[in-house]
């Protein structure tokens, strides 16, 4: 790693080490307080009953036993998986399609890029307000448009599944960000590859499956990981648009965790929920990593 280490005296090396540590010291402090301490603390507190005011009371595995028998946990897991299982794959497909389309040499592509990327940086809370109005039976565009085609008016947010579907649709407005990442990936694929494949008689689809998709796989993995991690933590939309309702139809896992912590003051139980999410996320990340080792192609040459 260090070229010509022999010329460095031990003292010199120690000076470098000190300098290095000094420069990364903000991260060391941040890591200790915002990663290391909270992770250990959450694991420990998850074995206690703790309201934040009174001293913690040891419960053993009770929080975890409760977690597996709590019908609202089951409900919130179902809601979250429903949301993530729809929002993430649909988002990937839409953003890949958009990237492929923007990759074509259309003259006014910067216009589309702006229109498609801009919604992805608009705050979710503002989008939530907009969607409340957009799909409102009385004030919204969606119902009045669908009404022209004879679709009966409906308050989508008053239906447990409808409300989740609205949030899945809303999430697609963020596709522009992933699309630009894919576009950068597409621009990195050498044109000569396609030309060679063409000479070998590959079809459009063949080129896409054998060149584009494999070479895009690092970007797909990246967007998949960030998408899944975001999808599992979905919260804001439900908090603003439906307050978890109707009939707990949008009570997502994160929302239930939040309620336990900040509405019911059950910090121990909320920590147990957080630990489970952490472990689930960890296993998922490891699975994706293992998967990527087998299928993701990092060699673009």
């Amino acid at each position: 790693m260090v070229a010509g280490r022999s010329i460095y005296a031990g003292k010199r090396e120690r000076a470098h080490l000190l300098k290095g540590l000094l420069f990364i010291s903000p991260w060391i402090v941040g890591f200790s307080f915002f990663v290391l301490y909270p992770t250990i603390y959450s694991f420990v507190i998850s074995f206690f009953r703790y309201s934040g005011i009174q001293p913690p009371v040891w419960l053993g595995w009770q929080n975890y036993i409760r977690l597996f028998t709590d019908p609202l946990v089951g409900m919130s897991v179902q809601n979250t998986l429903f949301y993530a299982a729809l929002a993430v794959p649909i988002g990937l497909i839409i953003s890949i399609l958009l990237a492929l389309a923007m990759h074509r040499e259309v003259k006014e592509v910067s216009l589309y890029r702006t229109a498609l990327y801009l919604p992805s940086i608009i705050p979710v809370f503002a989008l939530s307000f907009i969607f409340i109005v957009l799909i409102n039976p009385q004030y919204g565009l969606v119902n009045s448009l669908l009404g022209r085609f004879g679709v009966p008016q409906m308050d989508y947010l008053s239906d447990p599944t409808g409300a989740k579907v609205v949030m899945v649709v809303m999430a697609q407005l963020g596709a522009g960000n992933a699309a630009l990442i894919f576009l950068a990936g597409l621009n990195g694929i050498p044109k000569t590859l396609y030309e060679a494949a063409r000479i070998d008689g590959s079809s459009h689809l063949g080129c896409f499956l054998r060149i584009t998709l494999p070479l895009l796989s690092p970007a797909i993995l990246f967007n998949l990981i960030t998408g899944v991690s975001g999808g599992l933590q979905v919260f804001q939309q439900a908090y603003i648009m439906t307050a978890g309702g109707p009939a707990n139809g949008t009570l997502f896992y994160m929302y239930y965790l939040y309620r336990n912590a900040f509405s019911y003051a059950q910090l121990g139980y909320a920590c147990a929920l957080a630990v489970m999410l952490f472990l689930f996320g960890l296993v998922l990340a490891l699975l994706l990593y293992w998967f990527s080792q087998r299928f993701v192609n990092y060699d673009a040459s």
Binding site: H16, P26, H103, E105, P119, I121, N177, A184, A219, A274
Partner: protein, 296 residues
């Protein structure tokens, strides 16, 4: 000391229109591509059209069903009403303070840390950098409760400190972005400065920082947008109404006062405009941020 060399941008989203091709080729070849792009662009912009349409309607017009597709009478005073019914300016200022400090903190701390990982050679730095990378994937919820407890113990609840201080203490993803960029600075350049007797601190700010401007811009903007859009942080830490940011301020107001939709949309426009403005002013940095985050 004058530095002219500039590191090569990793993967810039190259603008297709740069490649000069005869205009005839464009004419009919990509019709379906265009149809698809125009259709999706319009679909993506519809929510914003409806936001503007609703925001500019008078109360009587708002009550018309089916809703009118364009305001018959432009009710500009809705903006005034929105600002005065809600302590909007207060929320706005709080959000601006949070945003500016978050961007500043992200740049200062992460640039320093990234320099430590990219430009100083010390034993174990790669090992520790792996640790940084791993933390990118640690789900944030595990930290919520412990941090709330910590900040409560420090008496930081109902101050901006729990939101701002962490931004000054490094963030794995931004460290990663900046390190990628700093690694491209030729080692000879740094060594030359060292031989001239410059301290690492000086080299960071006078040599490395000017060359990493695109990445610094990207990090500043990502952090600023992140703070402007932050909902969970203010929701947890800012219970006092006078400290609310726009995100939770509008939400709290909507749920307690049942605010009219035209005013809610007018307020939303005012929330969105700074982001849109920032985007058009710094489009280059946004694109840079996206291309830097595509891991190679």
């Amino acid at each position: 000391m004058k530095i002219v060399a500039r590191p090569v941008v990793v993967t810039e989203v190259s603008l297709p229109q740069r490649r000069k091709k005869s205009p005839i080729k464009y004419s009919h070849k990509h019709i379906w591509t265009r149809v698809f792009l125009i259709a999706t662009s319009l679909l993506f912009l519809i929510p914003f059209y409806w936001m503007i349409n609703t925001a500019l309607k008078t109360n009587p017009e708002l009550a018309i069903t089916p809703p009118t597709v364009w305001p018959q009478q432009w009710a500009w005073d809705n903006f005034v009403r929105a600002i005065t019914t809600i302590p909007f300016l207060n929320y706005f200022l709080n959000t601006v303070v949070y945003t500016v400090l978050a961007a500043l903190g992200a740049v200062l701390s992460n640039l320093m840390v990234a320099y430590g990982f990219a430009c100083i050679e010390w034993r174990g730095r790669n090992l520790i950098f792996y640790l940084v990378l791993i933390t990118i994937f640690i789900p944030f919820p595990i930290a919520i409760i412990p941090l709330f407890d910590l900040f409560a113990w420090l008496h930081w609840i109902n101050t901006l400190l729990p939101l701002v201080v962490p931004t000054f203490l490094g963030s794995a993803f931004y460290i990663f972005l900046l390190r990628q960029f700093l690694l491209q600075i030729p080692k000879e350049l740094l060594d030359a400065a060292r031989i001239d007797g410059a301290s690492e601190w000086r080299i960071l700010w006078l040599v490395a920082a000017p060359m990493a401007k695109p990445a610094i811009g990207a990090v500043a903007i990502l952090a600023a947008v992140g703070a402007w859009n932050d909902f969970m942080g203010p929701l947890i830490y800012l219970q006092d109404d006078s400290l609310h940011t726009l995100s939770i301020g509008l939400q709290a107001f909507r749920s307690t006062h049942d605010i009219q939709f035209n005013l809610l949309m007018a307020a939303s426009i005012l929330v969105v405009i700074p982001i849109v403005f920032l985007f058009f002013a710094c489009q280059r940095f946004f694109i840079e941020g996206v291309s830097l985050s595509s891991i190679k």
